[in-house]
Symmetry: C2
Subunit: 893 residues, 2 copies
């Protein structure tokens, strides 16, 4: 049997099916499927992607059977429609469209009205009894074909059209008469001849073949190549070509065209929702020259529209359309986005596909469809994009509001906020009754109180995982980071961008979901969580295997995390507790101390406060676990910077200013990320970790007594690179536990584990696991070290890297599976081989990224921990990951 | 057959052999071997390490057959010597000494003269006819035994002795009479009773057993445990115990004791070299109370000594000794360090072992012994410690000179130098007619001209691989880095340490081999390279597989490297060429440029200079390859810091000062090591790499024409993390080559490769290798990222880590084989799997470290590249590595 190079469809039957997208492309498969459902689809045929692949493999030669197969298909269409391709008496016109496996909107070319020449145009005029219509089709065809196939650019024709309109003193294309259009056709053809030295082709078969080749060629145009790179679509897939008979919504008053959604795409409400125009083409609905009318009477009333609804004007066609949309939704089991055309009183379906929708709509539709018995809970979970939940949890800009964007940075933490500009954490705190936006070159841990006080944060430097971004996400506060164009002048308290200078006290708005920075106050909309949201979360919890924890250290964060369904704290960064005004002095005294004894005295001032911190967290989170990371950042982060602060510290610590400066100088580090931090501090200054461990155990004993139930803290040692470090610090912690047990008479239960955040720790995980009850991957730092990229400095090259396709994704947002991922896998394997009961999770920023959560499921981790506002996203993503893994296993079995 | 728990030796025969060190320990094995050679060794027996192991396994119980076997052995000794243990008429005295498999000098305990009590002491006096001798032995025994076995500390006896000497009005122990000594014995025994409430044991068997157990117990004393940890000696080895009959060099005038070397240990000259004392004990030779006399007449004359040589005083014994030493050297095929005692005219050999020697001696002895047919060339190569060659290449402190050490830092670059203190690179250059020591908190690339001008560098911060250390080693200049106690006051141009303040212009001396910083000028000795050195190097070259290259960028460094035998340049750091006064302005203009075109204009000013740089290197190194790394450090390293420099740059670049500051601010990085550097610069600013590639190719074309031979540059892209980076930059370089080929009409040959210095690059080596002709491991940066340790900041915790045994070795000196090493192995395997012809080397600091070179041989690399002064070390180490690998293969076959 000869190869099948052409797939016919139309008139209630089709060669293809909806599940043949690989071969027929998305559009072709859906057309075939609609035909099989018995829906009225203008007949046509699809040239499958295989032909495109062969075309490129064989130096743009087609398979030899293709010509005859296309001829046969054309004949079938001619027979069905009683029209003939190229016959002036009853001309058949076709559209030629690309249709790839994955949607590539606007990337490739489309030609309509193919089959027109001087003779058939006259025939069409006669047949439709509408000369203006026929020549309008003709001049559009010449322009489109010349542009796409012949390479005569658009603007040539636009110029001629503009001249014509000037000439005639009219403004709208629709005011052109049939005669005008005939003139235009002549001028257009003359232009083509002038440009190419050849006549515009009159031969309809030549038109068809050249159009098909042009579609194949468009697969390799620059736009398409870039788009594929960005969306990871292999070049080898190729595109299909759809050749379909034309139907016309603009033929007469009994014709119309429209688009509709089977449910409301912005609320999810179960109402048929759409717009149409009488005597118009598809483009007109979108172009906005005429105002489209509502399809249903209900919608018309709701929107107080005067124009009649389709339900009134064409009641029969409307009835037919309702049957069609119901059939389609039931068949596809999803909300559909459909396109239709009515030609002289007959309904034709041109397209159906799953409709795009807002996050609230996605949730409502999924829950409703489960209730309607249309889809299963699993399917409902699969349907909702976890990242879209972000919209539900944060205020968003009112889409109707006007906005003046002055610059753009990275969308570092979602949500929108307006406030007056302040340039220091102190000022933010002082003016905290007003709403403030804290604007900084970059933030550091000592700005945290200001970040708490502000409603939003804007920084000039730093990437998606800079300090500002991470902390803001943790707080659920909008943040735009790395707005590189900002020029901040701290001295004069101004910043400028796009030649506009903003002074302290002036109002701006930031959109942390898009990175935009806007002048003045732009209205925002507050989020509301529906009952459907709770339903979806509950279903997600039924399916997922991964536990979801939150990264939190303040009572507020911990409560938010619980509210969003966190099953514990996966990362409590104790250093965030060191910056309080009353604490920082003791911390600084400790740093300035020369002797262990003085150091111990200073650090022990913090013990009662830390104990209280931990006790409160235990109370909020019980019975869930709380993982506390001992002090991690290098000590110089706590040192004062300004002269006045230095003087204050010198006084408090009873040393001279020179000593403070000398110590600061001594502690200065070239690369603090790789410096004297993490467990290295615990080894150098055991007093600090001893104090923290004691505070944790005292708090655990206290809360255990209150609750009549054991609180089981998980103590985490950061930045371990070999087993000896962990061994030494484990002994220190066990010692602290024994002392507290003796003191309080309470038997303590606790786990000791480590953050795995260095490549060496991954490789030596087998040794390290011998001394650990749990591992938690610190994927932020592991990414920094594995890739050699500082997240604070990455802004200058990471974004260009992603734009140029050197990196697929920001590795601080989505785990770099090929690099960091391999290390995680190695560590998990070696760790579990040495210690089968090892509990393993991740607590980097990646813990809230759906793709990375899928990876965690694949590698077999026990939990992910993310910022509180990411918990719902993580719950849903974990459910999807579990369902996907189940499906894969089933497939493999 | 019962287990053998005791190995006898003495009188020309022995149960053991020299190769039984694991069982008998080093001392026991050598004693057995000497006996088997028929040498006169006082008879005795060795209790093997197995007994020690059993002792600890069985709660300090001995195997039951041990008692009877020791009794038998004692009987044998008694029979041979016609003496009896504990018999007052003819008392046998023994020594009890530890003897582990590896030498642990001073770590464990020794007891001499065991077998003495009140009765046998009297007997010994009678037998030796020397009462003073007998009671001197007795009081020494009581003191030693009480200290080691009974735990009565040394100082108790010292006090009694001092009182006695005061009493008697004498100063030297030797002035004590027999009566005095008898008194002392009484007082000592009274003291023991007072301390313990028990009498000193009179039972000689009790003495013996307790002494044996004390030796076993000393295996687990704190000193020994620490020593083992530091030297990687397993606890499980245990120690042997040697019980040997005493011989006395202090019995009378016909007795003597001495130590000797079979060749001169400081020059290697083939002369018998040693010292002796008549009527003395071994201790006396070492203690320096009496001046030891020369053994040979020749040595006596050479040193113009008045005291008679042994050759004169005891000609027969001397003759016997000469026969013995020749036999020993011939047998062991190595220079021996021997100990002997003459008792009443009879020679006894107490010890022989391979003698320690200086580096020049090691070389001379090895070469001479090959000439004498005693050893093979392979063996000669194996014998020389590569690191010892460092002494030969650099000036060293005159060991006789007095020195006042004011502080100590890290021995960052070997050699000693004196000079006046300066605090800036500029000052060093200005005063370059004087010898200067550049003192800085730390150095940076812009200090290089000052480092060139100075004779030595001293820094307060930074580790063994800080900028100062790396650059100084490259220059072969002494450097002490990380002298943490230094307080440098740039403003007043002083530094202080140990309460001493040094002003600019005052003289200090630094010893880069020890880390010492000394007041004033301490005399130094210049190095001389012998012909034997060249011979050894030539032999090394015959055996080694690894090629040795040098890291060099200046013509001086390149010439030094060639002189030392480098086979090419493995790393030319082009950024070092950017700091010249006339270049830095163009570099800064380039950095300040906003547009690619302006940037290109500025950067192209550097092209002719870079071209000249490369041409000169090609000329010096031809026909060897030169690997040139394109620009690596972040641009801010080139920016000005002081206000006046900033003003200068602003003027030159024709921009305002604010712009310069803003740009500096923009370029500031929190962690420059992980920042916008390496190939990331090449991607962001392709103009820079284009200029460098063109300069390289123009130079290659020029020198190829001159030499009528192709120069094949190897262009190296730094800090690659994925294949796309390399792909893009490879295309850019190939483009530059094509342009130069067209311009010059020369067909160019070149290689393009990459530095592998990120964990991710190791993991993705298979992809990356597809675009590379060579890999060069940048082990400095790979260590930094794999361990998460900044070498600039490591000083504060790395040294304590090593001291506490958390890290075995400084990972910047010796490759961390378990972490970094696994990544190197993965990368080499994956790289070669993808590209079998891949050339692989390393160019980090580890390239000059013998242990790391062994690792490179094991992993199968093609070359190592190190600083020029390390090339000889690397050549020798590579030869040893090749021999070791050959031996291993032979063993496995």
């Amino acid at each position: 049997m000869a190869n099948k190079w052409v797939y016919n469809f139309g008139d209630g039957s089709a060669d293809g099916r909806g599940d043949m997208k690989e071969l027929l492309g998305g559009k072709g498969a859906n057309l075939a499927e609609m035909c099989s459902l018995g829906l009225p689809v203008p007949p046509g045929f699809t040239i499958p992607t295989e032909v495109c692949v062969a075309y490129y493999q064989n130096k743009k030669q087609h398979p030899k059977e293709l010509t005859s197969q296309i001829q046969e298909s054309l004949k079938k269409i001619e027979k069905k429609l009683k029209l003939e391709f190229g016959n002036p008496e009853k001309p058949l016109l076709v559209s030629v469209r690309s249709g790839a496996r994955a949607s590539m909107p606007g990337m490739m070319d489309t030609i309509l009205n193919l089959g027109l020449n001087d003779k058939t145009a006259a025939g069409l005029a006669k047949m439709s009894n509408n000369e203006r219509f026929a020549y309008d089709c003709y001049r559009r065809f010449i322009q489109m074909y010349s542009d796409v196939v012949l390479g005569v650019e658009h603007y040539h024709f636009e110029e001629i059209l503009d001249l014509k309109k000037q000439d005639r003193g009219i403004e709208l294309d629709t005011d052109l008469t049939a005669e005008d259009l005939k003139d235009l056709v002549k001028s257009y053809k003359a232009k083509v001849k002038e440009e190419l030295g050849e006549n515009f082709p009159e031969d309809v078969n030549e038109q068809l073949w050249k159009a098909i080749n042009a579609v194949f060629d468009s697969w390799m145009n620059a736009r398409a190549i870039t788009y594929r790179k960005l969306h990871d679509i292999p070049e080898s897939w190729g595109t299909a070509v759809n050749v379909q008979s034309m139907v016309f919504g603009n033929m007469n008053k009994e014709s119309a065209t429209g688009v509709a959604f089977t449910r409301d795409p912005s609320t999810g409400e179960k109402i048929f929702y759409g717009e149409y125009l009488v005597n118009a083409q598809g483009e007109d609905v979108v172009a906005g020259i005429r105002t489209p009318q509502h399809i249903t009477i209900e919608a018309k009333k709701k929107n107080s529209s005067d124009s009649p609804a389709m339900e009134e004007v064409m009641p029969e066609i409307f009835g037919e359309l309702v049957k069609v949309y119901k059939k389609l939704e039931k068949h596809y089991k999803d909300m559909q986005d459909i396109e239709f055309t009515v030609q002289s009183g007959k309904l034709w379906m041109l397209q159906t596909r799953s409709g795009k929708r807002t996050a609230p709509a996605a949730i409502k539709i999924a829950v409703d469809m489960v209730a309607e018995g249309l889809i299963s809970k699993e399917e409902a979970i699969r349907r909702i994009d976890p990242m879209s939940l972000d919209q539900l949890l944060h205020p968003t800009l009112d889409p109707k509001a006007e906005k003046k964007v002055i610059t753009k940075g990275l969308p570092a933490s979602p949500g929108a906020a307006s406030g007056i500009v302040v340039f220091s954490a102190e000022e933010a705190e002082r003016r905290s009754v007003e709403k403030t936006i804290l604007v900084r070159l970059e933030t550091s841990p000592e700005d945290i109180h200001g970040m708490h006080a502000a409603v939003g944060i804007l920084t000039a430097r730093g990437g998606m995982t800079s300090h500002a971004a991470v902390v803001a996400r943790g707080m659920g506060k909008p943040c735009v980071s790395g707005a590189g164009e900002l020029r901040i002048d701290y001295k004069n308290k101004t910043f400028s961008a796009s030649n506009i200078t903003i002074k302290e006290g002036e109002t701006i708005t930031i959109n942390g979901g898009s990175g935009e920075v806007m002048l003045g106050a732009v209205p925002t909309i507050e989020p509301k969580l529906s009952g459907d949201f709770a339903t979806v979360m509950q279903w997600a919890d039924e399916f997922r295997h991964l536990k979801i924890r939150a990264n939190a250290e303040t009572p507020l964060d911990a409560r938010t995390a619980r509210k969003f369904g966190a099953e514990g704290i996966g990362l409590c960064r104790t250093e965030h507790m060191f910056f309080d005004a009353e604490r920082i002095v003791a911390v600084r005294e400790m740093i300035l101390a020369g002797e262990p004894e003085t150091r111990k005295k200073a650090i022990n001032k913090l013990l009662p406060m830390q104990r209280q911190d931990f006790a409160e967290l235990f109370r909020i989170m019980a019975p869930f676990p709380v993982t506390i990371r001992l002090l991690d950042p290098p000590l110089h982060e706590f040192l004062p910077h300004t002269e006045s602060e230095i003087a204050e510290v010198a006084k408090a610590a009873n040393v001279d200013i020179a000593t403070v400066k000398h110590r600061a100088n001594e502690l200065h580090e070239t690369n603090p990320m790789l410096g004297h931090r993490g467990c290295r501090l615990g080894i150098s200054f055991p007093e600090i970790y001893e104090m923290q461990a004691e505070a944790i155990f005292l708090a655990a004993a206290e809360v255990s007594r209150e609750l009549h139930d054991g609180v089981i803290p998980e103590i985490m040692i950061p930045l371990v690179m070999n087993e000896k470090e962990l061994q030494i610090l484990r002994e220190l912690i066990v010692g602290a536990a024994r002392r507290v047990e003796k003191k309080t008479g309470t038997k303590l239960q606790y786990l000791i584990g480590t953050m795995i955040e260095l490549p060496r720790a991954c490789l030596r995980a087998g040794d390290i696991a011998k001394h650990a009850e749990f591992f938690s991957f610190g994927t932020n730092d592991l990414t920094q070290t594995t890739l050699g990229v500082s997240r604070d400095d990455a802004g200058s090259f990471l974004t260009p890297y992603i734009n140029k396709g050197i990196l697929e994704k920001d590795p601080f947002v989505a785990i770099d599976e090929e690099g960091v991922g391999e290390l995680i896998q190695i560590a998990a394997e070696r760790g579990r081989a040495a210690q089968p009961a090892l509990k393993i999770g991740i607590c980097g920023e990646h813990g809230g990224n759906p793709g990375s959560i899928k990876f965690c499921q694949k590698v077999g981790l026990d939990y992910v921990s993310c910022s509180p506002y990411r918990v719902p996203i993580a719950r849903l993503a974990a459910a999807q990951a579990a369902l996907e893994s189940k499906a894969k296993k089933k497939k493999a079995a």
